[in-house]
Symmetry: C3
Subunit: 354 residues, 3 copies
């Protein structure tokens, strides 16, 4: 949404340490005057990079890294210090996240407040003065755009929809009529919020449309990925609670409820009226059937199919293990004939008992 | 695509009953003057809501519902009447569908006829006077938009494409050159109709493009979901027949034919040149390989992989059952070694016979 | 992106033969004056169509075809010649591909050079004079569009992004800031290149965003399908190498590397930091987990889940075989209890040995 500034940004290690110390109590051991031009992984870091080690498994990379400074936890202090400057913090990965945020704040050009002269805003829409409305945005009757919101170029905001404070829509987002998104959220390009849920009454060999009269309600601090779809409810609203994070190309059907701080990787599908508890995580390309309940703290592995409600927290998995194709073919034939194999075992048990 | 009117719409129960009686022979028992402000599920209905019971399993909800009136079938008449007003009809779910349509007609602002001043229409395109062309729509040479069609904001209609009578494209639909959609259809935001099919001739370790010279032909009363893709044919057209309903994020490859009144839930993929019979239903995230034939009346469960033609109607399923991760891991290992397990059974059979 | 010319294009068989002879050494046996109006499959070819036979399995179709001329390999010469004109070439399928390209060149109206008056181009963007910029395109600060590039209507090019020579973006493509695509590539509608990768640091039951500071680098001769998403890297770039072909609705997560001349069918997901070797092929709806390496020449069947690195070339498969639903239900129960079945076999083995 914004370009890197020229000339390239740099910071001193002291500036970085001051920020991470204030936020997370990180302690610097090293020269605060060191010039940092980049955050980098351990393997590709150069003598002007800052890097981090969050998983002790990568200790070997730490020792071989060219990084000017590495963020580590107290247990890695000695090892890290042996090779140069070090920032000690209890949660190096969280420090890394905060550092990327700080870096982005210093390197990205903020979207300018105001309405692009070639946006098209209905007279009855309300747009806060501090909001940024991009080129060719269309905002329809009665929509409300709050303070500091950013609406990317080519986005469409339907009638009566609303976008909360400091929420950002990337270029080309669709937020349909009477759909609402809270504050400090982020929606990526191509996302479609509020298309009709898939509802039909079958009659005489054809389908009669059930008009979708509900909307979509999305909370605060939510992130929604590129080309993800969240359908409007049939009668009630589809709901995404605060802090939920959805990756790209996800399908959320009508009347689904995604609990607070749940996370879903790309290509997930959630069928109609399913409720996903707070803090659940759903691996990529998992498919969750309709009218189910997933308890808080359920974790679904990638590519698994959830075909029943899961009331107990824990990790669940279900996909066919991959193999060399000829071996898979043999195994697949046996799987298709497992009842026969089980019958053979039963017969053997009978014979042996006799 | 349109906002709810202010002040909120309401109807009398008599108005609703008159409409459903004329359309479907529904019979009202109760006060026609009752004021109805909402269609609601049984659980959340209030004293000004109308609700419905289509599945006898939910009888308990019926008895506990606050709804002003409930639509039920004749078998539920006594139970429903015991709690208040009732509409008796042979197919309550169909009544519900028609009621949502009636409600939508009374609450949605229709798209205005005419061309938005900031749409861009090629001089050789033909747009009917009663059609509605939204803001920033681009319509290229020779395209034809029929009477009462609605083209949502930001949509793109390629050269020589056509949109039939009363068909509606939501905001941000792409209909590429020489692709055609019939009457009374509905296409949701982000759908891409007529991108190139995926065709390449492999040669010397690289791929040579096969230009896709066919188009897409879509019938009447078809619905196409958000961000769904329907590729143009290689030489012939890709075809979606009348009454087919496609949900969101579906991939229809080149030269596929989807039969009349077939339905597909979200995230389905159909590979090239496959033909799906009339009235088939395909569950969410099912994958149908290429060059296959599915007979009319085949029903594929969600997340199943169709790897061969299916000539017999019926329900087909194929996905790995989900389980607690440690149990899945154990089972997956055995699945990968089923040939060994079968061999052990064979040996036992041999030993036992001796 | 362009309309078929009126009146319909035709060519003489001699023109076609000359082109395929020069390019691929095809030899014509037949009347060069024959008028060809269409490239068609064998089954639907008419007396003015040219067709091809690339797979000897379809010999029966060859004999029944009405085609004016058929492209065949030397082994089919006699059979083909018995029915009419014939073009003999070593690789008829490659000839077919080249013929579709030639046909497209003669039938599609090329995009006009220059900037549409209603495109919006930042003053600091550089657009080559021979490039074609469509209606309502937005190009931001410092972006570079090379010679002969075509940017379709409604496309968005972020700040500092670049599009190489003769690369074409269809209508409604999003190329975000600091993302780069090489020469002679093709991106289809709805594709989103450079949305944020999905990265969060979990802390105290919620997720802290990791700003995605990398970009996307796409090579030459790459094709990217409709509504496909390629996320920007966290620190380094996500990379798609030369000649890779990606179908529709594919998700490429951050820091993935797709090797040269790899191909992926629709609905594939590739999770973060996975590297896919040169020349790999990935079947539709396959899911590849994160932080894996696939060696060059690995081929993954459709709908398979890759959960470990694959260092050996070959074909790999893993999906549950489809069956009639009642049979699948029985088999699924046994699969969930395979440890029990194996235990029964173990007991039998013990009993039998005793």
């Amino acid at each position: 949404m914004a370009a890197l500034q020229a000339p390239p940004f740099h910071a001193t290690l002291g500036d970085i340490a001051a920020h991470l110390n204030a936020a997370l109590g990180a302690e610097l051991i090293g020269d605060p005057a060191l010039r940092i031009t980049r955050i980098a992984p351990l393997e590709t870091a150069t003598s002007s990079s800052i890097s981090f080690l969050s998983n002790p498994r990568y200790q070997a990379q730490l020792q071989g890294s060219q990084a000017a400074c590495v963020i580590v936890d107290p247990a890695q202090r000695d090892l890290a210090q042996a090779r140069g400057a070090v920032l000690i913090a209890d949660d190096p990965y969280l420090c890394f996240a905060r550092l990327t945020q700080w870096w982005a704040q210093h390197t990205r050009v903020p979207a300018p407040a105001g309405i692009h002269p070639r946006a098209i805003i209905a007279p009855s829409a309300q747009v806060a003065a501090s909001a940024s409305i991009g080129a060719l945005v269309v905002i329809e009757d009665g929509a409300v755009i709050a303070e500091d919101a950013v609406i990317g170029a080519h986005s469409f905001i339907g009638a009566g929809a609303s976008v909360g404070r400091a929420t950002r829509l990337a270029a080309r987002v669709t937020l349909h009529a009477d759909c609402h998104i809270g504050a400090n959220s982020l929606v990526h390009s191509g996302a479609v919020i509020g298309a009709d849920g898939f509802g039909f009454a079958p009659t005489q060999g054809r389908f009669e449309k059930i008009e979708q009269l509900g909307g979509v309600r999305i909370g605060n601090q939510v992130e929604i990925g590129a080309n993800t779809c969240i359908d409007r409810g049939a009668l009630e609203d589809t709901v995404i609670e605060d802090g939920a994070k959805l990756d790209n190309l996800i399908q959320i059907a009508h009347n689904v409820r995604i609990g607070a701080h749940a996370a879903m990787a790309g290509c997930v599908g959630v069928a109609g009226s399913t409720h996903i508890g707070a803090g659940c995580t759903i691996g990529g390309a998992a498919m969750i059937l309709g009218h189910l309940d997933l308890a808080p703290g359920v974790h679904i592995s990638a590519a698994s199919v959830v075909s029943r409600s899961l009331s107990e927290p824990g990790q669940y998995t279900g996909f066919f293990p991959i193999d060399h194709n000829p071996q898979w073919e043999k195994n697949a034939v046996i799987v298709r004939n497992l009842t026969a194999l089980r019958e053979r075992v039963r017969l053997l048990e009978k014979t042996t008992k006799e």
